[in-house]
């Protein structure tokens, strides 16, 4: 049991030491920063095997009581179950590899120590998020990862773009926090606790099936999930978040933090299971987001932003998975996505490193010759994400699309969802291979830029290669036909409180074949357009300029938010401060003061200064008083 505290506290320890340790030499930072996460990963593996022999037994460990106020009692504790263990392994494992990569990537940066300080804090917050046994500490971790995301997006704070992106990310994430907070209030109102286990045990008894309360709670939780996972309509921050250093994009904005929304839905599955309406909303948001992000990725020319949109698209797949009550497949896709997307970002980072931080793919090309290792890793990861058969993404994506296909037999409108998902799978292949062809193959478009291109040093190469290997073999955790290992393992989590329909017994071959066909079509199209024809940058989109511009401008959503939300609030603030505060609030106060002053100006004429007048007024007063008593009767 103590191993979980060990896992949790190690990154915190790293953060504390690094935050105060300004005299630490760079080498010590390079050891300590990734080291603590590495040790935590080892501990997580130990914990995993310890539990594996016990068939995913769930344990709830309370560390201390956080607050007591009447019947509002919150404990800080850890819930160890298969879901938490899987998330813990991903966070520490992938986190360790990316931190290792960062040692090379950030080696030139003056703020080397600050970077690892923030990264360790992130790992700690993420572990709090996934290990917590109550919604309150889920929220603490939730906000903690939002904070570190903010800090790391704005890591290079001299750049105005990074500062603006960080601010946007923070504010959008806090919108999600608001939804979570209100959801927590409702849960507390009905369950008098915020611990998972007592809530989940009594969901059907307290909230009923498909009642309005459970709908509202799940929709509010969904607001949090959507904001954190950059889904429609709160997705605008994720592409801008690419202003941060690339390892940050790999760890936070691809592998772990942005998938927290999926984790939240999977963790709260007894609630979502009782709210079919919300599950439909999740599926629709996911499908629209997957398609939307794929189209944006298709037109974008920034290597990291293409990957960001692809992240959004893949997380949308996970949303569909958990929305379709196929929680294990959603988590499975989360796992494989962590491998290949982290690998892709590392590749992008290596390319940027080689090309002096250039991110415009229109100036790249032909890097295969000078950066072979990067190319092969990137290729494997691209194939994995596109769903090329026998690689990890194929299996995980297939499970999600297949589960939708299976449910569509009963629910008619899911056919539309299934068609869009299959179509998006093709689009995924198209934009990913477009990226691959434009960056690595063909002719160099800017020979000067690529003059000194080379593969990165070993400390960056090694994590990339490990992740490429994982991107290949990661899918065999749930090989069709063989025992679905990850599904069986996670079932211990997902069958505890309400019997979930077990993962589909047989693979839906019809669905699989159609998805394979669309993927092949996508790859072929990319090959024809971007490898054989190789259009000049200005020619791209000439055939359908309106649609191209729509995609390039991200469907004009960003501008819409700016005009419809941000500016009105600013204008309101200006109005309040220049008009309301000055003339209404202050006007009332100062107006009454002025009225008093003016009236006293009139009043003081009575004080003439002549003794006679005063004496006369005394006399009159005396006459009045006496007269009153005389004539009272």
């Amino acid at each position: 049991m103590s191993s979980v505290w060990f896992i949790l506290l190690l990154p915190l320890f790293g953060f504390l030491v690094l935050s105060v340790g300004s005299p630490l030499p760079k080498r010590a930072v390079a050891v300590l920063g990734p080291g603590v996460v590495g040790v935590a990963f080892t501990a997580a593996i130990v914990m995993f095997f310890w539990d594996y022999g016990r068939h995913g037994v769930t344990r709830d460990a309370v560390a201390y009581t956080w607050i007591v106020s009447g019947h509002f009692v919150v404990n800080f504790g850890a819930l160890i179950d298969p879901l938490a263990t899987v998330m813990c392994l991903i966070v520490t494992g992938v986190g360790f590899l990316i931190l290792l990569y960062s040692v090379g990537y950030m080696s030139e940066d003056v703020d080397f120590r600050r970077f690892f300080c923030y990264m360790d804090l992130f790992v700690f917050a993420m572990l709090v998020l996934v290990l917590s046994d109550s919604y309150l500490f889920l929220l603490v971790g939730w906000a903690g990862v939002g904070l570190t995301s903010y800090l790391l997006i704005g890591f290079w704070y001299e750049r105005p773009a990074a500062v603006a992106a960080a601010r946007q990310a923070l504010v959008v994430n806090v919108i999600g926090d608001w939804g979570m907070m209100v959801a927590l209030f409702i849960l507390f109102l009905h369950f008098h606790t915020l611990q998972y286990v007592p809530i989940f045990k009594h969901v059907p008894a307290v909230l009923g099936y498909d009642g309005s309360t459970v709908r509202i709670v799940t929709l509010l939780l969904l607001v949090g999930a959507v904001a954190k996972s950059a889904q429609l309509p709160l997705h605008v921050w994720l592409p801008n978040a690419m202003e941060g250093p690339t390892p940050v994009s790999a760890l936070i904005h691809a592998a772990t933090m942005v998938t927290a929304g999926v984790y939240l839905i999977a963790r709260s599955y007894p609630l979502f299971h009782s709210a079919p309406f919300t599950q439909s909303v999740v599926i629709i948001i996911g499908t629209c987001g997957a398609f939307f992000a794929a189209t944006c990725a298709l037109a974008n020319n920034d290597i990291k932003r293409v990957l960001a949109y692809s992240t959004m698209s893949q997380i949308a797949y996970m949303f569909v998975g958990v929305g379709a009550a196929s929680y294990a497949s959603g988590i499975f896709h989360l796992t494989t996505h962590a491998y290949f997307k982290a690998c892709l970002f590392m590749g992008a980072g290596a390319v940027m490193h080689a090309l002096h931080d250039n991110v415009d793919i229109r100036r790249m090309g032909g890097l295969k010759a000078t950066m072979p290792v990067t190319f092969w890793c990137f290729l494997i990861a691209t194939m994995a994400i596109s769903g090329v058969p026998l690689l990890s993404g194929f299996f995980s994506k297939d499970e999600i699309v297949g589960s939708v296909y299976l449910q569509a037999q009963h629910v008619g409108w899911l056919w539309i969802i299934w068609i869009m998902l299959a179509l998006t799978a093709g689009l995924t292949a198209l934009y990913m291979f477009r990226l691959l062809f434009m960056v690595f193959l063909g002719q160099e478009r800017d020979p000067e830029l690529a003059l000194h291109a080379h593969d990165p040093p070993l400390v960056m190469r090694l994590p990339m290669m490990i992740l490429a290997v994982l991107a290949v073999i990661g899918g065999y955790l749930a090989f069709p036909g063989a025992p679905n290992w990850i599904g069986n393992w996670l079932r211990h989590s997902f069958e505890r409180f309400s019997p979930v329909a077990p993962a589909e017994p047989a693979t839906q071959w019809a669905s699989v074949i159609i998805v394979i066909l669309t993927v092949a079509l996508g790859i072929f199209a990319a090959y024809r357009i971007y490898y054989q024809r190789r259009p000049a940058p200005e020619q791209v989109g000439a055939t359908a300029p309106a649609i191209y511009r729509l995609f390039l401008n991200r469907w004009y959503v960003d501008g819409l938010y700016d005009r419809a939300v941000v500016r009105p609030i600013i204008v309101l603030g200006l109005f309040l401060s220049t008009v309301v505060e000055r003339f209404v609030i202050n006007g009332l106060v100062e107006g009454s003061a002025a009225a008093l002053r003016d009236s006293s100006r009139d009043m003081r004429r009575v004080q003439s200064g002549y003794v006679r007048n005063y004496a006369l007024s005394i006399l009159l007063g005396a006459v009045l008083v006496v007269g009153y008593y005389v004539f009272r009767r």
Partner: protein
Amino acid sequence: MTPDASSYLIISAILFTLGTVGVLVRRDPLIIFMCIELMLNSVNLTFVAFSHYLSSADGLIFVFMIMTVAAAEVVVGLALIVSIFRTREDIDVDQLDEMHG
């Protein structure tokens, strides 16, 4: 024959009115002072009269207190008048209106 109470009161009222008019119309502070004394003494007269007719000593007590206060007042007032005269060379009360609002 002994006069009844109303005679005292009438005299007292006449004296009081004289004093009041004097305070209101005269400008010389000394005259005003004397008018005030007149008013006070008219009140004293009333007190004594009532005290006599009601067989109560309360009125007499008040008369003593009023006389004391009047004496104190004269002391302070005359001192003020002297000092004002020294500084201004003029004691017309209508000129002493620095305190007007």
